[in-house]
């Protein structure tokens, strides 16, 4: 096949406006599609982040106390009684009190320092509290060290800040603080006057929040052996026996109300399984991915349709010229190649502008919203998609052009 670029360029000069419009459309489409692809890939990546929790069997009860004048010891007695009641349910495997849970959407986090005098923090960790049942209840994977002993569990009242001497940390936090991998038995400070010593390491354990400010601290979490007996309320995290989640979720509030009715478990979101929790916390990410997906698909369809429309018009305009070329010996596939090459040239010049626009848009999101830089792969994928799309869209009109009979040359004038 013989690619005649020179005559194509000459012909294009006769259709400046149309050429420019297709190139511009391809440029803008590329700019948006590669950014949309990048955003979709990033957001879907967030969506599939592992929490470390046995999500199929775990649910969370948000329990508020009605009488806020209770002393810490009164609250503690009630929490202990509640936990016994929950653990005795046939459908329940284990339960723990907590002040927060992974993927809650935000919550307690502390700065971490290596010495008590250090002012500028080393890093930041999400703080979880629970008793010796915390690890089993969440189904966390203990990769080193040991679980808390019952006698290590301390009580923390509403107006107290307590730093337990022992802590279990996520592997990400352990590696961040002690890159040599010898974190077990080492100590650090987490906004307390006294150190806390690592007795166990779990992997993975997601933070409570998914906000972008905490991206730099992703996966960094610590668990303290504390019953947080806050007079306002407590979370009960419960793990059902396999396949008995629905039963456990139905029985748990009944068991709690049987203990004491002066509590509030919201009928709407007082009891949530992890599917709901995960769905809620990633609302933004999922919505963004869906929106970008819809826009990309519609955009590509419209651009393709636009190319079909304009190319058909050109073919219609040039029927006579095509007839002359065919009469002078051009084969059908020469005509086909002509239109495909023409589109290829326009597409490529459009993508050059599109790459610039795409990076400009990405730069805006980086400076304005602290989003990540887009890697070249997305632009490459976008270019490939658009060039192929352009060729595919040209194919039908070009085939029609190639079937123009040489007789056309002889018609009129």
């Amino acid at each position: 096949m013989n690619f005649q670029v020179r005559p194509i360029l000459t012909a294009l000069r006769q259709h400046k406006a149309g050429t420019l419009l297709i190139a511009l459309q391809i440029a803008l489409t590329l700019a948006i599609v590669c950014n949309a692809l990048f955003i979709i890939h990033q957001r879907l990546g967030n969506l599939s982040a592992s929490s470390g929790v046995d999500e199929a069997n775990v649910f969370v009860i948000t329990n508020m106390w009605a009488d806020m004048g209770q002393s810490t010891s009164q609250v503690d007695a009630q929490v202990r009684a509640d936990l016994i009641a929950l653990r005795q349910l046939p459908a329940v495997r284990d339960a723990t009190p907590a002040s927060g849970y992974p993927l809650r959407g935000g919550g307690w986090d502390n700065f971490v320092t290596m010495t008590p005098e250090q002012v500028k923090p080393t890093t930041d960790a999400a703080v979880y509290t629970g008793d010796e049942h915390f690890i089993d209840t969440l189904g966390l994977n203990l990769v080193a060290g040991r679980n808390f002993r019952p006698d290590e569990v301390m009580v923390m009242g509403t107006q107290e800040a307590v730093t337990p001497p022992t802590v279990i940390v996520s592997k990400v936090l352990a590696d961040r603080l002690f890159p040599d991998g010898d974190a077990l038995g080492k100590s650090f400070y987490a906004m307390g006057a006294t150190p806390t010593t690592i007795v166990g390491i779990v992997d993975p354990l997601h933070r409570q929040g998914v906000d972008s400010w905490s991206n730099g601290y992703a996966g960094q979490a610590l668990i303290w052996p504390l019953r947080a007996d806050d007079s306002r309320g407590v979370f009960y995290i419960v793990r059902a026996r396999p396949g008995q989640l629905a039963d456990a979720m139905r029985e748990a509030p009944k068991a709690l109300y049987a203990q004491n009715r002066l509590r509030i478990i919201d009928s709407k979101d007082g009891i949530q399984d992890y599917a709901t929790i995960r769905h809620k916390v990633y609302d933004r990410d999922r919505g963004m991915a869906i929106l970008m997906g819809i826009i990309s698909v519609v955009l590509l369809a419209i651009t393709a349709a636009g190319i079909v429309g304009l190319t058909s018009f050109w073919v219609g305009q040039r029927r006579k010229q095509i007839g002359v070329r065919r009469a002078l010996g051009a084969r059908q596939r020469d005509i086909l190649a002509y239109f495909l090459t023409e589109n290829f040239l326009i597409s490529v010049s459009g993508t050059v502008l599109g790459i610039v626009l795409g990076f400009a848009f990405n730069l805006w999101t980086v400076t304005r919203f602290a989003m990540d830089r887009m890697s070249l792969a997305y632009v490459g994928a976008g270019v490939l998609v658009l060039v192929l799309l352009g060729q595919a869209a040209t194919l039908a009109p070009a085939l029609r052009a190639s079937r123009v009979s040489p007789v056309e040359a002889t018609r009129s004038v």
Binding site: L28, G69, M292, L299, A305, T365, V413
Partner: protein, 436 residues
């Protein structure tokens, strides 16, 4: 003449249904995507208190110092010591302190279970400063603040749950183990974004149920139901210890009517911080801010980045649809070069050709607007899958959005048609007549 052009336009559109459908769809989708994302953006970026947003200010004082503050910016709320000092100085015409409280209404009457009641601990000026509308009664007085009274203002919604919607002013009920008397019932009041509490909320929470006396909440040692942020080593073991800590949890607001008052208050804040430095409490130079409502919304990034990005992408999408339409209109108009040549030869002026093709484009825009409106309506009702529920709820298809959809669709299409129509008007009649 206009009616005739319209008729010609409609006839021409029917001649190539595929091409027409393509243009209408491009305009429709482009307009709809822009309008759906705009409806969300409009809802989250509005001014929540238009009459007074320039008179209400939130003072910030850096109690953490350059090594621990927010990259040079002071904390977004005040510690107890600073909040009380600002309140006591009383340097503004009106001022309030506030923090979120979580309470429960104890069982009583025919309710055997307690009821959630979330709200704010505030001072007397809160209601006048923020122009809270009342159905019954009013806010409390400064004397009630000083007397640490058990007065509460409740929302219309809580009033309906507790008192069947009747005038409950003077009635008493039990909150978390203590009796409170109702002094006022608000009409529905939930400014969005919730400018007055961006420290603990993202700005789009449900309407609060209850407002209680700030000093009363302190007496009951009520911890904030919202955020609390501390620096350094936290070692408190009692309420008093907590109050003395550097933890920030109280949002202050002041009302300042003139530029002179604002300047004076700024001076006061700087002096206050400098005094703290002299007293040895702050080991750094005064670092204070005084932002009004709109500046505060901007600083707190109330508009989610998702909303801005999707609006930008949707506008880009619309632009592409318009470029597409320009190309298709060009193809469509130029295909009729022969017809134009005949009309020109028969005496039609360029201007007439020009008008005729713009009218034809406007009919495409109108059809695109109708499709866009249908898609927008569907999109706005389904926007819940794209944005968080509390934000998606705010997106509404109201009359102004309907109007805007049509106006944008028609104007954009006519703009897109300028070049193709110009080309059509400049067709050389002689050449066209000769070649056909």
């Amino acid at each position: 003449m206009f009616a005739y052009y319209l008729q010609l336009g409609l006839r021409s559109l029917r001649r190539n249904p595929a091409l027409t459908a393509l243009m209408v769809m491009a305009i429709g989708f482009g307009v709809a995507a822009s309008m759906i994302t705009y409806s969300v953006f409009r809802a989250v970026s509005g001014n929540p208190i238009p009459g007074k947003s320039a008179q209400l200010f939130t003072p910030q004082v850096d109690g953490w110092g350059p090594q621990q503050n927010l990259k040079g910016e002071p904390a977004e709320a005040l510690a107890y010591i600073d909040a009380m000092a600002l309140m006591r100085a009383h340097e503004a015409k009106r001022q309030t302190l506030l923090y979120p409280v979580q309470l429960s209404v104890m069982p009583g009457g025919n309710r055997d279970l307690p009821l959630n009641a979330n709200g704010y601990a505030v001072t007397a000026d809160f209601f006048t400063m923020f122009e809270v509308p009342f159905r019954f009664g009013s806010g409390w007085s400064a004397q009630d603040d000083d007397a640490r009274a058990s007065a509460v203002v409740i929302s219309g919604e809580l009033n309906r749950k507790l008192f069947g919607g009747a005038n409950s002013v003077g009635r008493t009920f039990n909150l978390g183990g203590h009796d409170y008397h109702v002094v006022g019932v608000t009409s529905h009041w939930n400014p969005r974004p919730r400018f007055y509490d961006l420290f603990s909320t993202s700005g789009f929470a449900d309407e609060p149920d209850i407002y209680m006396v700030f000093n009363r909440a302190l007496d009951l040692q009520m911890r904030s139901g919202g955020r609390n942020s501390c620096r350094g080593s936290i070692t408190y073991t009692s309420w008093q210890g907590y109050l003395q800590s550097n933890c920030v949890w109280i949002t202050p607001w002041v009302e300042l009517d003139s530029a002179a008052e604002v300047a004076a208050y700024r001076r006061f804040l700087t002096n206050y911080a400098a005094d703290q430095q002299r007293a040895g409490r702050f080991g750094w130079a005064a670092n204070v801010r005084l932002r009004d409502v709109m500046q505060w919304l901007e600083y707190e990034h109330v508009v989610p980045p998702e909303s801005r990005i999707s609006l930008a992408v949707a506008l880009g999408f619309f632009l592409i649809c318009l470029v597409n339409t320009i190309g298709l209109l060009l193809a469509k108009f130029m295909r009729r070069a022969g017809e134009i040549g005949v009309r020109r030869a028969l005496g039609a002026t360029r201007r007439e050709i020009y008008t005729q093709y713009l009218v034809e484009a406007a009919t495409v825009g109108l059809a695109g607007g109708v499709l866009g409106l249908l898609l927008t309506a569907a999109g706005v009702s389904g926007v819940g899958i794209l944005f968080q529920p509390e934000i998606a709820r705010l997106a509404r298809l109201d009359l102004s959005l309907v109007g805007l959809t049509f106006v944008v669709a028609i104007i954009a299409t006519v703009l897109a048609a300028f070049y193709p129509a110009w080309r059509a008007a400049h067709v050389q009649p002689a050449w066209q007549l000769k070649s056909s």
